[in-house]
Amino acid sequence: MSLFGNPYDARAKLSCACGAHATQAEHDEAARLDAERLSARALEEAAMRALFPKRAERRRFLSAVGAQAAAAAIASVFPLGALQAMAQEKGKPEKRDLKVGFIPITCATPLIMSSPLGFYEKQGLNVTLVKTAGWALIRDKVMNGEYDASHLLAPMPLAITLGAGSAPLPMHVATIQNSNGQAITLAMKHKDNRDPKKWKGFKFGIPFDFSIHNLLLRYYLAEHGLDPDKDVQLRVIPPPEMVANLRAGNIDGFLGPDPFNQRAVFDQVGFLHVLSKDLWDGHPCCSFGVQSAWVKQHPNSFAALFRAVLNAAAMAANPANRPTIANAIAPANYLNQPPALLEQVLTGKFADGLGNVKNVPDRVIFDPVPWDGLGVWILTQMKRWGYVKGDVKYQQIVDQVYLMTDAKKRMKEEGIIAPAENPRKIVVMGKAFDKAKPEAYVASFAIKRT
């Protein structure tokens, strides 16, 4: 609830839009009932048309038996009730006006583009996207119910469900927003210091403790023999503030989300040391999450949101659409970045900050399915670094939080091709991961906190 109604909102009226109802809410309710009745009517009409393609025949039939009898006769042949119920399952969100939070980064592409490109509207939703200053605030606003759904880092819903870093609250991940699309960016002064073994004492920016960025950076450093808790400093910095901190010399580098890696290059304060894709091709980054309780209270609204974002992800998956998308999400209302910059991130043709033009078409990819293996990997690393302690029921927690089966089913319904298995094997820096043996995986690392 906001204490201020927006006095400048053109739609805010003292009565309703048509003037026949006292409030806009009443008007909306009447319109909804109308729409329901009309859609039922539309179905009956379609059935009549199918039975009597010629208008003259239909008229003769109706005048001969009477409308009442005709309706009863047709209902006995056609399962009109069932058809109407099916149509309604798609057509009636419990709550139409939704607030969805986001951080202004390209990871949120599907859920942001759904607004300017009309994916939400098409599902009958009126979504207000709320730009948010940092991940801790996103977590708080999701947990206190200010946001109906939100852009979250892939590990956050798992952490919140387990009560790591917050009070425990069951969450769901509907889709993975994006895969790959991050990078380790270093300050210009380190351009001849590319060997991680020599990075003792470095200060790195990460967006949040429960982020794939933190887990990947820790993994990368540990593979090179550095203990991320002792040999370097990891600082939580909201993504938008990373470039400013790099320029000010507060940090030596960051593993952060785009467009801020590319922005550091564009502003000539840093260079791309390594893309996250080169650490683990196909790693998840951000997710689209909701409280489990919200799904129970608003199953249809949730289904509509789910469909909108899945369709958006399908559009984003096609590289040909990326320039259009870059232009749609660039304005100040969304990312507030130059479109040319976003295009470099989304198309994968970019300057690396060291004088080279790189062409990496899968710099960022959009596979919306929350594969369970991804969640299990995240939990193994949370265990490895001591964010969760004791016995972890890996598969059980992931199955509860990541709605993999649900996502695949809904994609099929929407006519989007969904593979049965994760098309990309989980291989992190050359080491394969078996989701069936998480404990052995955790135990296999030399540097760990368990």
């Binding site: 609830m1 906001s2 204490l3 948010t132 200053a133 304005p331 209302n333 507030n336």
Partner: protein
């Protein structure tokens, strides 16, 4: 030339020198593309003249003009004109400030009139007063569960102390003679409070309100940068994301001007209630 005129000329000169230094310091370098792969240069934006971060005077001027000439545009939930942003900030400050005044002034009266209440409440005031208002933010978000109300609460908590302390001080230092005269004339408690103590303490109370308003205006910008979503502070943060320093500089100037106007308004009110003994 009078002193006033001299000061005015000097002020103008200082402004001119500062502007000139800024202009010279930020002149853009020409295209730096020489010797660089043209494709790379284009991706880096080097094919056009590019400053090294700080915007030029002309750029800031153009930005300011653009913002001021269309202050009420609405391009979506996260992008509104500067006039609307300002209205949100002033609304939050106004609401938090009025709530604080409603609590602080009556409470200040009680503390000022009763030494027992003063002794009992003083330890709390002394502990709570020095807490940075933003430190309350996480607690407020967690308990109030609404970010707008939380920022209003933060304004409330930061503007309550100067008003409370000044009111108490003003009430306590009303001249004994006046109270005695009131008692001789058999004025009731309420009448004494409103017709003797309030006018006598008004200048001190208004000083407290003036200090409070200054602090509230400082804090709202920081609070909005923290919780975001509309307001001048949010505007600064949003343009910082875009590293658009010309917008940030424009916002800084605007915050300064609005702060000055608020202070002038309270200064004027203060003069209106001041009396000569």
């Amino acid at each position: 030339m009078g002193t006033r005129a001299k000061s005015a000329v000097l002020s103008a000169l200082i402004a001119l020198v500062l502007a000139l230094a800024w202009h010279i310091g930020t002149l853009p370098k020409g295209p730096q593309a020489a010797g660089v792969d043209p494709e790379y240069a284009k991706l880096m934006g080097l094919d056009k003249p590019k400053g090294d971060g700080l915007p030029t005077l002309a750029e800031v001027g153009a930005t300011a003009w653009k913002q001021v000439s269309d202050p009420f545009y609405d391009a979506g939930s996260n992008d509104k004109g500067i006039g609307i942003q300002l209205a949100y900030s002033l609304g939050r400050v106004g609401l938090g400030f009025v709530l604080a005044a409603l609590v602080a002034i009556p409470l200040g009266f009680v503390i000022g009139l009763s030494p027992v209440a003063h002794g009992a409440l003083n330890p709390f005031i002394q502990v709570l007063k020095p807490i940075s208002p933003l430190a309350w933010m996480p607690l407020a978000l967690y308990t109030i569960k609404d970010s707008t109300t939380s920022s209003i609460f933060v304004i409330f908590i930061c503007s309550i102390w100067p008003m409370l302390i000044n009111t108490a001080h003003g009430v306590a230092s009303v001249r004994r003679d006046w109270l005695n005269v009131a008692r001789t004339l058999e004025a009731g408690t309420v009448r004494t409070a409103f017709q003797v103590i309030l006018p006598a303490a008004a200048p001190t109370i208004l000083t407290g309100m003036r200090i409070s308003m200054g602090i509230a205006w400082l804090v709202i910008v920081a609070a909005e940068m923290l919780v975001g979503n509309l307001g001048v502070g949010y505007f600064v943060w949003n343009e910082w994301n875009n590293l658009s320093l010309s917008n940030v500089i424009f916002a800084i100037a605007l915050i300064g001007v609005v702060g000055m106007l608020l202070d002038l308004a309270f200064g004027w009110a203060q003069r209106a209630v001041t009396y000569a003994e």
